[in-house]
């Protein structure tokens, strides 16, 4: 990590370079199970994001008081209490969304991203970086959830933002798009195999872009000495 731009580094890492969904491939269980439509993906993404930012901050703050030997159980306790609080919040304010996401909210406790970031980042870095790392990793994960949810919803039902009112209230009902009432979609996309195949294509797409960029920078590097010589 470059010392001059830790914030920029953290942001680039979480959104792209080390994206939890596409590169670390962590938390695949909720990633696959919940993303049958865009709104579900967004809901779970935001819940994960809040958890991740909070736990990273708490763990980083409590770092001096946690003994090395028992750090994992301590992390789990912190994560479990945070998730419980967030679950109660969602239950109180978005009870319909809570009904849709169901078991996957309490299961955030076991999401590998949370404990992964706690162990790999928050336990070693000061709080001002740790909370940002949690937030950005959460955003990176949410972006993947939303993209996957959008692709699967569109392929399977030909719609986008259906059930948006679960999250944004009745006013958001108009947000839902439907191409045609007679759309017979690729039902497979909404089923578990569709999740695996779509995620595979997303990962392949990311690798393709990275390859193109690497080839591009290499070409630039090759061209540079030549232009210097002129």
């Amino acid at each position: 990590m470059s010392a001059e731009h830790p914030y920029r580094e953290i942001i680039f890492n979480g959104i792209w370079q080390n994206n939890p969904g596409l590169v670390q491939l962590l938390g695949l269980c909720p990633l696959m199970a919940v993303t049958t439509n865009l709104v579900n993906g967004l809901g779970l993404g935001i819940a994960t994001l809040m958890t991740l930012a909070t736990t990273n901050l708490l763990i980083s703050l409590l770092r001096p008081f946690i003994r090395e030997e028992i750090r994992i159980p301590a992390f789990v306790l912190i994560i479990a209490s945070t998730v419980t609080a967030i679950e109660l919040l969602i239950h109180a304010y978005f009870s319909e969304l809570y009904a849709v996401l169901g078991i996957f909210i309490p299961l955030i406790v076991t999401n590998c991203i949370i404990i992964g970031r706690a162990e790999a980042y928050a336990a070693k870095n000061p709080p001002q970086y740790a909370w940002l790392d949690g937030l950005i990793m959460g955003i990176g994960f949410t972006l993947v959830l939303v993209t996957l949810g959008a692709i699967r919803e569109f392929l399977a039902h030909g719609s986008l933002f259906s059930q948006a009112h679960l999250m944004f209230g009745e006013a958001a009902r108009g947000l839902s798009l439907q191409i045609s009432d007679h759309f017979t979609g690729l039902l497979l996309a909404a089923l578990p195999p569709g999740a695996f195949i779509s995620l595979g294509f997303l990962v392949a797409g990311k690798n393709y872009i990275d390859q193109r960029r690497a080839a591009h920078t290499q070409q630039q590097a090759l061209l540079k000495p030549a232009s210097d010589a002129l």
Partner: protein, 344 residues
């Protein structure tokens, strides 16, 4: 004088992929002709669309993967995949159904895994399963034989159905397949004997199906005679399926169909001789082949009888494809002169 001598190993020149695939295609011809007799133009449109899309997608993927196009196109493996899907789908299938099936077969099932020889799953069955799960209505409405033969449906009507789809009179020309009928009527509490009185049923398993199955059988036996496939897979598959059917039929013949019905009905014969025997995704050792095909037979019976889909060859083949690496690893034949795993 000197005689030219060669050093060991002495090997015969095996047939190339193209020759093997060409003979599989010849063996598919009789069954396809019988389908044509019963279902008319729809079989031809399926076949043309299937082969066209298969070759097109194969060429496209080869180009994307920067592989030589012509040598791979002329190994006919894409033709076999397209042909198998064309005869597996209901005749008069809309063009997009074949296109989606072949995208899943050629792109996802075959080339994303590295092309011919590297695909762990049977490409045709990947495509079939994908659209069966996605479009159950289109996939289970087979046209009624006789009503849709060439004498009754002319070419322009057939093309209209395939390209534009959904003529309102068309619903009257389709009917549930025999396996489907058995399944839905058993749920209504009827017995197998009562259901078999229905007009869709012929001598064993439905008017057209008996003849189609016989024609597949003829083609398949010819493949065994030509040593393109070994007897292990087709016979182990049929034995396992018939064995399962026999046990339950003896327990209660009112709710379980006879072994003969399971052998002749649905895609059993086509699956046993042409689909399960795919040289890439099937097991390669003799014992492995028997276990692999036996597994397919058992799974087919289980899904047909207790699952929610009427036929199950595709799912059973895909499930057992996953077990192939393990089967191959554990069933390596004993090399002559060495001791086997159990010291025998």
């Amino acid at each position: 004088m000197m005689f030219g001598t060669n050093t060991s190993p002495y090997m015969h020149a095996p047939q190339g992929v193209g020759q093997v695939m060409a003979q599989v295609i010849y063996a598919l011809v009789p069954g396809t002709l019988v389908l044509l007799w019963f279902f008319g133009w729809g079989v031809i449109t399926n076949l043309l669309l299937g082969l066209g899309f298969a070759l097109l997608l194969e060429a496209l993927m080869l180009k994307l993967r920067q592989r030589p196009i012509l040598p791979f196109l002329t190994d006919y493996s894409a033709v076999v995949t397209g042909w198998l899907l064309a005869v597996a789908l209901p005749p008069y299938s809309p063009w997009w159904l074949l296109l989606i099936a072949l995208i899943f077969a050629m792109v996802i099932g075959k080339h994303l895994y590295g092309g011919l020889g590297y695909n762990p799953f049977n490409p045709a069955m990947v495509g079939y399963a994908a659209i069966l799960v996605s479009f159950p209505v289109e996939m289970t409405s087979w046209p009624a034989p006789e009503l849709t033969s060439i004498a009754n449906i002319n070419l322009s009507e057939a093309l209209q159905q395939v390209l534009l789809g959904g003529a309102s009179t068309w619903d009257g020309l389709t009917q549930a397949t025999t396996l489907d009928t058995i399944k839905t009527h058993l749920r209504l509490g009827e017995t197998v004997e009562q259901i078999s009185q229905g007009q869709a049923f012929g001598w064993i398993a439905g008017q057209a199906w008996e003849w189609v199955s016989l024609a597949w059988l003829a083609g398949g036996l010819w493949l065994i005679y030509r040593k393109i496939i070994s007897w292990h897979i087709p016979f182990a598959l049929m034995a396992a399926l018939a064995g399962m059917a026999l046990i339950f039929w003896l327990i209660n013949p009112h709710t379980y169909s006879s072994p003969l019905f399971h052998l002749v009905g649905g895609a059993t014969i086509l699956g046993a001789f042409f689909i399960a025997t795919d040289p890439v995704s099937a097991s390669t050792t003799p014992l492995g082949k028997i276990l692999y095909a036996g597994g397919i037979g058992c799974f087919t019976y289980i899904i047909r009888v207790w699952g929610s889909y009427p036929d199950a060859i595709a799912f059973a083949v895909l499930i057992m494809n996953m077990a192939v690496p393990l089967l191959d690893a554990y069933t390596q034949p004993r090399v002559y002169g060495t001791k086997g795993r159990f010291g025998l």
